[in-house]
Amino acid sequence: MALSLPAPAAREVVDQLAAIVGPEQVSVAPIDRLTYARDMYTVAIIKHAEGKLEHFPHVIVWPANEDELIRVVKLAPDLGLPVIPFGAGSGVCGGTLPIHGGIMLDVKRLGRIVEINDDDLTVTAQAGINGQVLEMELNRHGYTLGHFPSSIHCSTLGGWVAARSAGQLSSKYGKIEDMLIALRWVCPDGRVYSSPIVPGRSTGPDFDQILTGSEGTLGVCTEATLRICPYPADRRFVAFTFPDVPTATEAMRMMLRNDLRPAAMRLYDALDTMLVGTSGSTEHTQGKSLGDLLQIEQIGNRVRTLAPDLFRKAQRFVAGNAQIANQLELLAKEGCMLILMFEGERELTDYEFEAAVMICERLGGTNKGPKPAIRWFENRHHVSYKMSKVYYNGAFVDTIEVATTWTRLIDLYDAVCAALKPHAFLMAHFSHAYPDGCSIYFTFVTSAADADEAATKHAFIWSLAMKAAGGVGATLSHHHGIGLSKAQYMRDEHGDMMRVYRDIKTVMDDAHRFNPGKMGL
C-alpha cells in the first residue's frame, strides 16, 4: 500500500511561491516531499525506509539567490507555514525533520564562491555550496580550508555553520566557528544581518557566534567568510600503539600542551583499532565493517535470496546482542592505535614530527611507522560509506560525540562505556583534541525488529549516554549538534541559559516560525 502523505500546501501557496522562485523551483510532488522528509537521523532513516515517517514538508522551494530567499522568508508569515532551512540533509540529529510540516527552504542553489582573497587568506562563499566542491576549488587555487568533516562530500557550508561542524583536522585548523570571519544571514523577518570582514573587533557581543550553531532556529545563513591556509607544502605521518586508552590520551595531551598541532590526531580504543584496522598487521580486518567482521555479509548474500526474512533475523540477533558483540574486545590484542599527521611548512612539520615521536616514545608508545597513518589518510572518507553496509545487514548505527576537559576525559570514557556496553556494540575514538580537552566519538551498533522498536531502543541508549556524559560534566555534543533528537537534553546542558536562548529567539522569531520544535526552545 502506497503511503498516504498529509495534504500538501494549497495551490495558492504554491502560486505565491512560484511567483518568487519560478514554477520549476517550488514543489509539492511526493517525490520531493519524500526526499526532503528526513536527514541522516538514525530513527528517521529506518522509519523512512519502512514507510513509517509521519511528517512531510508542505512544500519545497529552491531560491536561486539571496533576494529570492528573502522574499520567501518574508512571505512565510502570510502563508502561515514554518520555515526549515535545508542544506544537504546530512545532519544526524533530525535537524531538518519537518515535524510541523512547513516550507523546506533549500539553500543549495546559493552555491557560488564569491571571492578568494589571496592577501587576506579568506574565502567568501554562499552558504549552499557543497563542502567538497568548496575544498576542491580552494585546492585548485593553492589553498585549503582545513575543514574535513567525514560528511564533506555531502554537506554544505551553511549546514556547517548552522551546526558548528568539526573536521577531521580540527586539532590544527579548529572547528568551523574558529575559521569564521564574517557572516551574511537572513533573519526570520527577512532583514539581512551582515558582519564586517575584519580580523578582530570589540564592537559589542559577537552576534556571529550566536547565530552559529542555531541550526535553523534563528534564520538562514546565506554567505560566510572564512580564513583559509596555503595548501600544505608537506605532510608527515606516524602511528603509535599504546597499551590502553589512558596512556594514549596522556600522550595526546602532552603533545598539545607542548604546542604541537598535529593536523590529525586520532586515537582508536582497542575495539575500534581492531575493527577499523588502522594497524599495519591486521590486514584482514582493514576497512571492514562490523557486518564484514562477523562474516554475515558473505553468508548473507546467499541466504538472503533463499530466506530473506530469516537472514535479517539472524543478523539482527548478532548485532542486537551486545554481550556477544562486545566480547570481540577479548580478541583485541593490539592495544590502542594513535594516528598522527603533521602538515604545513616543511621545517615546521619536521620539528613537530620529531617532537611528537619523542613524546609518544617517552610515554610508552610503540612506533608503528607511517603506514597506518597514511592508510588512514588515504581512506579517510571510507567510514562514511559504512553506514550503508550496516543498515543493509539489518542493523543500525549511530554516533555519540561528547567532549570534556583532559582531567575528566577518562571518567567520561568509562562512564559511557559502562552505561552502553550492556545494550549495544560499542567502540570509540578520540579524534578532536585541543590543549584543554578532547572529544570522544562513540559508535554504537545494534538492531531492532522494526522502526518502532528501533526508535525505542535508540532513545533508550541515547538517554543512558546523555546521563552518563552529563554526570561527568561533559558537553553533550562536540560537532553533530542538537536538532530534534537531543532537544530534550538542552536543559541539562544549559540550565537557565536556555532563557537567554529563548530571549534571543523571541527577539528574532517570536512566532517560532523557523525550524519549530528543535533545539529544546
Binding site: D120, A166, P205, D206, F207, E215, R253, H494
Partner: protein, 469 residues
C-alpha cells in the same frame, strides 16, 4: 540615596560594603576616558552614582540585580575602571557594583591548563597564580596591573602578546553570569561544543549591559621556556607590513609582532641608549627552545626578503621589558592644561590595511599635533592598528579637538574597511559609527539587550541602547 534604599543594600552586603560618601561617589564617577578627563578640567558637573557596593559572592550579585530590577535602579559594573571608552561612567542614581572583592582563583586544572577565577581578579594577580604552577594566560594588555578579568571579558580585550595567545575571547571556555533579573546562568566547561549558539559570546564584549560576569574558566598555556627577540628596520613602511603578512601566512606564531612608524618608534625607545629610529618591526618568539629559534629564523628570512636591515635584538628586548609603559604615558601629558592625547585603535584585513593607514595619517594630521601608530596583533587575515594622537590646543578647546579627531578617524576607518573598535569597546562618541558598521547586527544587539534587560538597569546608555535615545 534614600535611607530605605541604603538599608535594602545593607541587607544584601552588610553595612561595610555599601558606601555612599561623596568621595567614593566621585571616585567612581570617572574612568580614564580622555574626553571626560579633559572635560573635567573645566567643569565639575558630572553624573554621580548613588552608592558603590562590593559583592563577595555570586549570590550577592544575584540579589543586587533582582533588587535593582524590581526598583528599576541602574547598575554599573565596575572592574578596574581602566576603560578608555567611558564604559563605567555612571548615570545619576546608579549603583556601582565593584567586582574587585570577587577575586579568588576557584579552580586550577593544571592537567587541562584551565584556570577558573572570579571576575574581579586583577590581571596581574591572576597571572601570578598561574606563574606558580608553570602556566601563563598570555594576556598582557597595557593596563594589566589595574584591570580585571571581568573587564577583559566585557570589552573583548587583547594584549601585547595576543598574536600568539589570542584575544581574551579565544581563551574563554566557560563563564558564569548573573542576568538582570538575578538568575544565575553558566556555560559548560568543554573544549568545544555544538549545542546551539555560543552563549559565552552573549556576555563577551557586552560592556556590562546584559548582566554581570561573576566567574570564568580560561585556557592557559605552559609558561614559555624560552624567548627570542629580533628587530628590523624598513626603509619603506609598506615593506614592513608585507613582511608581517608573509610571516603569518607561513604559519608562524610570534608572541608579539609590533611594527611602529618613526614617531611611534621614537616614543617607544625614548629611554633606550642607541635608540633605533624609522619604521621598526619588533618580533618576540616564545615557547619551546627549538621551536622559537626555528620560527625566529624563518621570520628573519622573510623580513630580509622584504628589504630591511637587521637591528640588534636589544630594541625588541627593550620594548618587551617596557611594554606596560604605554599605560603610563598619558598622565604626564594629560596633567597639563590644553594638552590632549587619545588612543584610537582599529583593525583591518591585509588587503585594506596599507590604504587605511595612509588615509588615517592624512585625516588626522594637523597643526601642533603628533600622530604615531603601530601595527600589531597580526593573524593570517589582518592586523590591528593603534594610533596615538597627541597635541595642544588653547585651554578649553581640548574636548572639541578630541571630538573632531574622533569624527575624522571614525569616518576614515569606516571608509577604509576597518573596524570602529579593535579592542577597548565602544564609547558614546562611537555609537553612530558602530551602527553603520554593524547594520542589522546593531538592531539585534539592541533588541537582545531590551529582551534580557527589560527594565534597562544594566549600564544604561552604553552602546546607545536605551529606549529614549
Amino acid at each position: 540615596m534614600t535611607a530605605a534604599r541604603r538599608r535594602e543594600l545593607e541587607e544584601i552586603f552588610g553595612a561595610d560594603r555599601v558606601e555612599d560618601t561623596p568621595i567614593t561617589r566621585r571616585l567612581y564617577s570617572q574612568d580614564l576616558t580622555a574626553l571626560s578627563l579633559v572635560d573635567r578640567r573645566h567643569s565639575a558637573d558630572e553624573a554621580l552614582p548613588d552608592a558603590v557596593v562590593w559583592p563577595e559572592t555570586v549570590h550577592e550579585v544575584s540579589r543586587l540585580l533582582r533588587w535593582a530590577s524590581e526598583g528599576k535602579v541602574p547598575v554599573v559594573t565596575y572592574g578596574g575602571g581602566t576603560s578608555l571608552r567611558a564604559a563605567t561612567m555612571p548615570s545619576t542614581g546608579a549603583i556601582v557594583c565593584d567586582m574587585k572583592r570577587m577575586k579568588r582563583v576557584t579552580r586550577m586544572d593544571e592537567n587541562s591548563m584551565i584556570v577558573t577565577a572570579e571576575a574581579g581578579i586583577l590581571g596581574e594577580a591572576l597571572q601570578h597564580e598561574l606563574r606558580l604552577v608553570g602556566l601563563t594566560l598570555g594576556h598582557f594588555p597595557p593596563a594589566f596591573y589595574g584591570s580585571t578579568l571581568g573587564g577583559f571579558l566585557a570589552t573583548r580585550s587583547a594584549g601585547s602578546l595576543s598574536t600568539r595567545y589570542g584575544p581574551i575571547e579565544d581563551m574563554v571556555i566557560s563563564l558564569q553570569a548573573v542576568l538582570p533579573d538575578g538568575s544565575i546562568v553558566k556555560t559548560r566547561t568543554a573544549p568545544r561544543s555544538a549545542t546551539g549558539p555560543d552563549f559565552n559570546h552573549v556576555f563577551l564584549g557586552s560592556q556590562g549591559t546584559l548582566g554581570i560576569i561573576t566567574r570564568a574558566s580560561l585556557r592557559c598555556r605552559m609558561a614559555p621556556a624560552t624567548r627570542t627577540f629580533a628587530a628590523y628596520k624598513f626603509a619603506d613602511w609598506n615593506d614592513g607590513v608585507t613582511a608581517m603578512r608573509l610571516m603569518m601566512r607561513k604559519g608562524l606564531l610570534p608572541a608579539a609582532v609590533r611594527y611602529s612608524d618613526p614617531p611611534e618608534t621614537a616614543r617607544t625607545f625614548a629611554r633606550m641608549e642607541d635608540e633605533p629610529d624609522g619604521n621598526v618591526l619588533v618580533l618576540v618568539f616564545e615557547g619551546h627552545d627549538r621551536r622559537a629559534l626555528l620560527e625566529a629564523s624563518i621570520a628573519a628570512e622573510i623580513a630580509l626578503s622584504c628589504h630591511c636591515t637587521q637591528l640588534g635584538e636589544e630594541a625588541a628586548r627593550h620594548w618587551f621589558d617596557h611594554r606596560f609603559a604605554e599605560a603610563y604615558r598619558r598622565s604626564p601629558v594629560l596633567a597639563e592644561d590644553g594638552a590632549y592625547m587619545e588612543v584610537i585603535d582599529t583593525a583591518a584585513t591585509w588587503s585594506r590595511l596599507p590604504t587605511l593607514i595612509a588615509s588615517l595619517r592624512d585625516a588626522l594630521a594637523g597643526e601642533g599635533r603628533q600622530v604615531s601608530l603601530y601595527v600589531a596583533n597580526a593573524s593570517s587575515v589582518g592586523a590591528s592598528v593603534c594610533l596615538t594622537v597627541q597635541g595642544h590646543t588653547p585651554a578649553g578647546e581640548e574636548g572639541k579637538t578630541l571630538q573632531a579627531i574622533w569624527t575624522a578617524a571614525l569616518s576614515t576607518i569606516r571608509q577604509g574597511g576597518g573596524t570602529v573598535s579593535y579592542r577597548q569597546g565602544i564609547g558614546p562618541w562611537q555609537i553612530d559609527a558602530l551602527k553603520e558598521e554593524l547594520g542589522v547586527g546593531y538592531d539585534l544587539l539592541r533588541d537582545m539587550k531590551r529582551q534580557i534587560d527589560p527594565n534597562g538597569i544594566m549600564n544604561p546608555g552604553a552602546f546607545g541602547f536605551d529606549r529614549t535615545s
